[in-house]
Assembly symmetry: C2
Homo-oligomer: 229 residues x 2
Amino acid sequence: MSIEEYASRIIVSLDPPGGVEIGEWLERVYTSLKGLVAGWKVGWPLILRWGVERVRSFLASASGVRLLDLKLADIYNTMRSVVDVFVDVVDAVIAHSFIGVEGALAELKKLLEEYGVKLVLVYTMSHPGASEVMDQCLDRIDEVVERVKPWGLVAPATRPSLVSRARRRYGDLVIFSPGVGAQGAAPGSAICAGADYEIIGRSIVASPDPLRSVYGLSASAAKILSSCT
Amino acid sequence: MSIEEYASRIIVSLDPPGGVEIGEWLERVYTSLKGLVAGWKVGWPLILRWGVERVRSFLASASGVRLLDLKLADIYNTMRSVVDVFVDVVDAVIAHSFIGVEGALAELKKLLEEYGVKLVLVYTMSHPGASEVMDQCLDRIDEVVERVKPWGLVAPATRPSLVSRARRRYGDLVIFSPGVGAQGAAPGSAICAGADYEIIGRSIVASPDPLRSVYGLSASAAKILSSCT
């Protein structure tokens, strides 16, 4: 995989670093990387610090895949109130599979389908604590994934065996892997384990030169991927 | 339990009904009920529709317990960015226990303690889907609760046996029970099962006369609680 090919598998997590002026920072990251990376992941930190309207307007004009990562994990009535605010300016929405189907993910998927927006479920997370409950309950989570039939899954680059498990079970789902860079996983390692995209935040967005960081990460990834079996 | 005693065990969930002018609606609900109910639960629907600054300013001057219910379920770094925005104007913050301790709830609890803010963990939720994964993983969730030692738990009025389970295991934790009213549980039923507070949303906040609704709910609850064993 070439440097450009790897970069086209990066989703940039747009969580603003401390102390930046958000508008300038986002403009710099976006203009440096658009067309090179696959897309963007937006979550609560950006929404809270920049405001709903500015985030909506950025998303409305952004090119690339737009993932809304609010880690939705509430009853449907509440998730609907939240999703309603962004559903016309995103391509996919991330929710926790842990909350189950009835009264939650079944209704959420139906709502998103009405808007042509895709559902991505968290299979398990990238931090150590995810192995305490979520990893232990993966058989139940698999049942939820099988019933809901989402478009994609989030599986952790930090525990590549779980990316492989998701890939083996769900050949047709798009797998996004967070945990690359600041959280410790090597660039390319999740793709090697079966992910379609690697989600990278701080290593890119907290860099003074996001483009150079993407090239650096991509060069590392190219090495891993050349020996990936 | 008298009507006033029951009312003092209600936490009002301030999720705005569709179509209302938020400022007027909130003023009406708050002035009708302050001093009568125990406190207020604020979540994403209000924050998104009314804006961070107005919600902060409401919370800063609100009397009663102020629960921030963002159903936090992310890695610590992200939860911190979110909590930082509200930590000086709330009394307690609700997070999901299924995200585990390391890299998530341990650090969150420490952060909150620095601000004198309490942590409330979701034990399991009120909708039917919660029985598909969360209820099945309660032994693991219990391990998290025992390690984190939160101030309180959220347990569902809609499945009172789980409120009882939480009460039996955690005699010293404050238990909040959602699911009363619109979601189907009878007022008083969760307190009967061992909860300290019942969280009520739509039945009160979507009512044209919130005070009358609280009295109506409290009268029903008083009946249940008089025969509660």
